[in-house]
Amino acid sequence: MSRQPYIRPVSKTTWYMRNGRYRKYMLREVTCLLVGVYCFLTIWVLAILASGSQEHWNAFLVSQQSPSVVAFHAIALIYFLVYQTFDWFKLAPKAMPVQLGEKKMPDRFIVIAHYAAWAVISLFVFWLAGVI
């Protein structure tokens, strides 16, 4: 009897097409591109503010008003909510379990706490920005 173990090939570039679980994971991972985009967008905002010119600022606000920019932000918002915010909250209890006496706190309590904190933070920022 000779041993000759067979190794099945795995594609380094398309492995995630094998099942829905992996595809969902990849959709989550590419949210990093959105984070990058909004970081640099905000840095751009800071650059305009640093120039100290009100005209520059108003020109920037006007330059942003186009249907394609609206579409981009709207899609980005939904995508980000689904694949980053909700996913992060869902996975949070795994990384930070809470023990109450002898029992583990049910995951859903930790998730609910995250949503509550998120609501407070969002309302605070909207209040700060004068939206509400």
Partner: protein, 246 residues
């Protein structure tokens, strides 16, 4: 009890004859309450005695009958035919070399298991003779789920990072190490982290979470690995601020 005719497509590989694995079809009259393992046993006993596969207890304890069932890493003794369509594809666990038919080579994981030092490490030698190390119920409940692992290796078959890079230590071994790290009797956490939070350790995990989803014993390796990353990050700072030793 009624029977149902099922088509099993079983991956076959004979290292002495075959260049590559292929699928062989078996038509099996299955009883309603059968698990996939029963159908495979039926093939072995009644259709094809050359089929090679591992099993022992048929009751979710021994962990040896893990296989891919329709692409999902499964313990075949607890995967029931009533939950499956008429055609079922059975393959050996992914991400492991195939020894023969449905039998895989697990040497790699066994080596890694050694690295995790899955035993209680104490610094105060010799151990006390007149008493045992006491354990609170609260602490037991903290790590108990991780002790349920039966080393069936379904989590390794589900892990894409292990698939892409075999040097990654992987889910079950890391979960077992975490079980000892959070045991109040253990004092070997930093010793283990120095090994398991090194390059091939926890950082290779990108939190796909598939390991926990497929675990037949409801162990949560993904949680263990994330918690170990937090421990590893803390330990890194501790070592930097403490002058290199912990």
């Amino acid at each position: 009890m009624s029977t149902r005719q099922m088509e099993l497509e079983v991956m076959r590989y004979d290292p002495e004859q075959d260049k590559a694995p292929y699928f062989q079809k078996y038509s099996v009259p299955c009883e309603d309450d059968w698990a996939i393992l029963d159908a495979i046993n039926y093939v072995k006993e009644n259709i094809d005695t050359t089929l090679a596969y591992r099993w022992s207890c048929h009751m979710m304890v021994c962990g040896s009958c893990g296989m891919m069932v329709n692409g999902e890493p499964s313990l075949t003794c607890k995967t029931f035919i009533r939950d499956l369509p008429d055609r079922v594809r059975i393959e050996p666990l992914e991400n492991f070399p195939i020894e023969r038919d449905l039998v895989v080579v697990l040497d790699d994981v066994m080596e890694k298991l050694r690295m995790a030092k899955p035993f209680i490490i104490r610094k105060d030698d010799p151990p006390p003779e007149d008493r045992e190390y006491t354990q609170s119920r609260a602490n037991l409940y903290k790590f108990k789920q991780y002790t349920m692992c039966i080393n069936c290796m379904c989590c390794y078959a589900a892990c894409p990072q292990y698939a892409l890079d075999k040097s990654f230590i992987g889910p079950a071994v890391l979960a077992l190490a975490h079980r000892y790290n959070i045991d109040s009797r253990d004092q070997g956490k930093s010793e283990r982290l120095n090994i398991l939070a090194d390059h091939d350790g926890v950082w290779e995990c990108s939190f796909v979470g598939a390991c926990s989803e497929v675990c037949p014993k409801s162990v949560d390796p993904a949680a263990a690995v994330q918690q170990m990353k937090i421990d590893g990050a803390k330990e890194w700072w501790k070592q930097k601020l403490g002058g290199g030793k912990s």
